[in-house]
Amino acid sequence: MSNLKAFPTGGLYLLLFFLYLFGPLVVMVVTAFNSSSFPRISPWECLTSDWFFKLFADETLIAGLGNSLIIGIGVVLVAVPVGLAAAIVLSQVGPHLRSVMYAVFIAPILMPGVVIGLSTLIFWDRLGTFFGAAYDSFFYNGMFLTIAGQVTFISAYSMLVFLSRLQRFDPTLTEAALDMGASQTQAFVKVLLPFMTPAILSASVLAFLASMENYNTTVFTIVAESTFTTVLAQKVRYGLDPSISAVAVIIVGVTLVGAIIFENYNRFRTHKEARAAASAIVPPIARFATNPLVIIGFVLVCVIGFVAWVGTNDSSVCEANIEQMKREYQQEQLEQQRNRTTAPASEPAAPASPPANGGGGVFAPGNLAPAQPEQEEAPASPFGNVFAPENLQGGN
């Protein structure tokens, strides 16, 4: 019955699609281990973990990370209760008012982040001016402004999470609690909140992640401070550097581990009974080994082991080789250049039109161009020889 079988192009399309999704990330992760000072896969120079050490030594990034964590926690503490309140209010109003309020609540998600950022900045700035506040007060504080700006739209995200959970809430539970003599506050705390706990957890994670990765709003509201993302953006705009790829390795790793934990937790919750029944038939070891997530986890452990191994592996010999090779290549180029500049002077055809500047044809077009027909043996890539297999042996 599966349509995937009905048209194999469907499966192929999905494959291509996920290649598009993961390809860029894989390439980025791989470049973190290349010793080339520009992030790239080819030409591959040496396997190295130096970029990670360079990263850990980067104080602005570490300071930005600290700020981001504080902002992220602040955003979670404000946005999650606000989102919960908005979802509960929405669930209690009539259908007409509900659609109007829904449109208002959802608007911050659709609004460009840039607009949210600068409207927050202007609002608190004007408010500070109005109250005659000092410049070190919270009206002008980048951290406070960033939390305010991010809460604006992250509340709407968490509201969406709570709305989908609330749809499955059975209001008779609250009624039962009230009938048994609970006050409304008790019913809220002891019935609704426990029911919402999983949603509160996932909304918190979502809010924290959204806060960590936000750039468009933060870049306006952060003023003089910096966050992890703004430092990263500055680094990327200033110049490409494989230590940014090293950041990506860490983030992708953490994300994958988080996703695996999340998925396993979900499975555990939804299939608790089914699993108990099935384990009687299939040996637990076999079930464990065929679980795709266990396989992913295994691969991940291998990757981490690989990184650790690279860390102990000394890449300096290989890098010295590469350096030597580049120097030799430059020398060779220089010599060829010299040969070429002297060659036309001795050629009999040259004096036909003596140049006015007396430069001896040095400036004639073509003399300086490296791609002369007789230079065919010179490789197009500046580090062409690097690819030769015997060169790489020194590295590993």
């Binding site: 999905l14 919960l84 840039v114 600068l118 305010a148 990263l232």
Partner: protein, 310 residues
């Protein structure tokens, strides 16, 4: 007024006073202090002169249309004529955002259909998780990945030249190919999920019936699936369009040296330009044009606003 009072007393008796206060305070702080008032302040600020702080609130602090006039008839660069520079950037941004939205729709529709109608159970959950995971990676890093991919010594150029498709490295960054690919990538998830939600609720029997009646797959999609998924298409397209037009990170990192996104102009007025009122005016223009454009397109395709975001 009495109705509002009755609403509040009903609300309080339904939730209990402490919870009712929490709900109302949280929602009103969010909507008024964080959303509405800042927007109104920005709107007001866009009608002001760019004054040094001591003069703000003084006699010179009056409303003016100067900032909007500048957008239409800039006087410094274009010499009093129409400000073709900024208007062209706005136009280019909108066209590019439409372009990116269409790319995303074309890419995502088959994926959403396959996910919603063909895969089941744990496979589906794993695929959905695989969709989400790349979007937990920082936006800046995703743009950076496309920089590496499309650079002149990047993987795309390397593979292309190795296969002999082209001889010299192609400047994908300068041609904005990297920018469009990166933007389409950045907001793919926001297109897939509305589409997926819309298509998932479609009864498989309708498709089977159309097939039994002799409809080709193209006809099934054109006559059955797409009309049914219209609200999903509308909300996905709206989100992708708005966020693409308002994007800042990707254009800053992936944009070619000669290309400018409208948000980058706003950013410049706020930072190096040092003219906040003008930046506000530009932001208001961006917001207004985007909203009007979305409403217009929804009218053309006969989709009501209430269907968005469902």
């Amino acid at each position: 007024m009495r109705e509002i009072g009755r609403f509040f007393s009903g609300f309080a008796s339904r939730n209990g006073l402490p919870v009712a206060i929490y709900l109302l305070v949280a929602v009103s702080i969010w909507i008024f202090v964080l959303v509405v008032l800042p927007q109104l302040t920005m709107f007001d600020f866009s009608f002001r002169h760019n004054l040094p702080p001591p003069k703000i609130g003084g006699p010179e602090d009056v409303h003016t249309l100067e900032q909007y006039r500048y957008f239409l008839m800039g006087n410094e660069i274009t010499g009093g004529g129409v400000n073709t520079l900024d208007i062209a950037v706005l136009f280019k941004t909108l066209v590019a955002a439409v372009f990116v939205t269409i790319i995303d729709l074309v890419i995502c529709y088959p994926v959403a259909y396959l996910l919603a109608q063909s895969s089941q159970g744990s496979t589906k959950r794993l695929l959905v998780l695989a969709l989400i995971v790349p979007f937990w990676v920082n936006e800046i890093l995703r743009a950076f990945a496309f920089r590496i991919l499309f650079g002149s010594t990047g993987v795309i150029n390397g593979v292309g030249m190795q296969l002999g498709l082209w001889d010299a490295p192609i400047d994908f960054i300068g041609e904005n190919v990297a920018l469009y690919a990166g933007l389409a990538y950045a907001y793919i998830l926001l297109m897939i999920f509305p589409l997926y939600n819309a298509i998932e609720s479609l009864d498989r029997n309708q498709i089977e019936a159309a097939r039994d009646m002799g409809a080709s797959w193209a006809q099934v999609h054109r006559r059955v699936v797409i009309p049914y998924a219209k609200p999903g298409i509308a909300s996905g397209s709206t989100m992708v369009f708005m966020l693409t037009a308002g994007a800042l990170a990707a254009p800053q990192i992936l944009g070619g040296p000669s290309s400018l996104w409208f948000t980058q102009i706003i950013y410049q007025w706020f930072n190096s330009g040092g003219n906040w009122p003008r930046g506000s005016a530009y932001a208001v223009i961006l917001l207004a044009i985007c909203i009007m454009f979305v409403l217009l397109v929804m009218r053309v395709f006969k989709v009501s606003i209430g269907e968005i975001g469902r």
